[in-house]
Symmetry: C2
Subunit: 306 residues, 2 copies
Amino acid sequence: LKKLVIFGVGLIGGSVALALKKANFVTHIVGVGRNYAMLERALELGVIDSLSDALEANIHAACSGADLILIAAPVAQTKAILQSIKPHLQPQTTITDAGSTKNDVMTIACEILGAQFNQFVGGHPIAGAEKSGVTAATADLFVGKNVVLTPANLDDIQDDALRANNHAALRASHIARVTEMWQKCGANVREMSATNHDAIFAAVSHLPHLLAFALVDEIASRPNAEELFSFAASGFRDFTRIAGSSPEMWRDISLANKTALLNEISAYESELSQLKQLLKNDDGTGLQALFERASVVRNAWANGKK
Amino acid sequence: LKKLVIFGVGLIGGSVALALKKANFVTHIVGVGRNYAMLERALELGVIDSLSDALEANIHAACSGADLILIAAPVAQTKAILQSIKPHLQPQTTITDAGSTKNDVMTIACEILGAQFNQFVGGHPIAGAEKSGVTAATADLFVGKNVVLTPANLDDIQDDALRANNHAALRASHIARVTEMWQKCGANVREMSATNHDAIFAAVSHLPHLLAFALVDEIASRPNAEELFSFAASGFRDFTRIAGSSPEMWRDISLANKTALLNEISAYESELSQLKQLLKNDDGTGLQALFERASVVRNAWANGKK
């Protein structure tokens, strides 16, 4: 790539920049954002090669001649960023993002980009970290991690004229470019529909986060909360680690993936009610069988991940 | 102490032995158990000074002249072990255990020991580890960890003659001996009733274990389980770590602490139903407030623990 533009140079955007520089995959990286001090820090650290604020006039220069634009700002800003890019979006440029939910992002992108929707390839790198900000960025954050791509679905485009404009070959070249970018970061790229993505992550990520938040909130609300926490140990620490995550980010994810998440909560409530019934019936065999199924699967999974 | 007898020389029993040897607190440690090969390994490793199988005749010799007997075998064996000790229990000997639930153990001890119930001091060291067995034992397993003691409650003894036999001064000396043993291991000793212990651990340990088992079992039961697990990442790994725990042990703990645990599940179900309602109502402010309460408390707790 000759020119990569990154909106939001934090942990994710910064780590992509560092990985691509290490792989010699890109000649020039422009950082764009509302936090000018953070961008200056990124420039100092050699994460980006130039910077731009988010003013209309400067967006034009930043996006001009770009091969690829990566939106790695908080998801709540995606709409405004796409709107600011739209008037300056050249036909050869590919746009991708790094948001944790995809149906909402794809809907917004379709609405704003219209006939240029096929230039947009939704993305979600499955790599978190305790820390945030460009100072926590590392070139190896995505090595061995999954990245899900959710390319624009032509069926999402209602307007026939717009559909006609979305050539399959062009669409494939945009997908290939984003795939290559993540592969150069060391990631495993997997493609699926936004709906399938959101259903999968409701189960393995969003539900566990909500369950952990709920447990801590429930215990914290008790009169003897302080005594309870004083006896909580390492099992509690690991179980609740994700309850220390950003409240704003999880509000946005929960609302964006509401339908899938409500289904997951209901399925979990049924499971919990089964477990409760086994306990009420003193059904030791049934309890042990349930725990056995879970522990075998969990340990096999964890060992396979190593 | 001149003589300490440990029933069950695994991770817990072995670590107590190593810690007390390091502290020069005990002259002679006898290991007793059904697994002779494990005891021989413990002897080889210098964890114990002599060993004995669990046969009646040998229990007499093992317990003779003991200052302290620690039962650190799986909780399901506690009753049989107490029954085997009872005929050989001398008045100067203190007995304690290391089980994760206390009401059940105290009830069994009261039933079996009768007039000698005041020699029993229930105990629960709050120190787990991924590994088990004597080869995983270390002298510092309990350093800085909590140990809860639940001494015999005179109110638990219905028989007046037995009650008269339970002198306060004697009782205090047994508690002091167990307290000192754990302090020599580097632990913080806290005393409470068995009922209070079981209520606290139902909330901060037993419930989280059941929630983690339930999540993994629920996901594993789906037709696309393999796909789901292939996208699970580090948050899922930490949340479900305790779902890899021993199914037998958690069956026993669940049944032993059934009443408190059922209360905890119900309280959690209410919290989950509140969360679901916030989501149904698209109540972003309410969701963020709940997540914020949880994350602030969780991070303050985790930072305080360091």
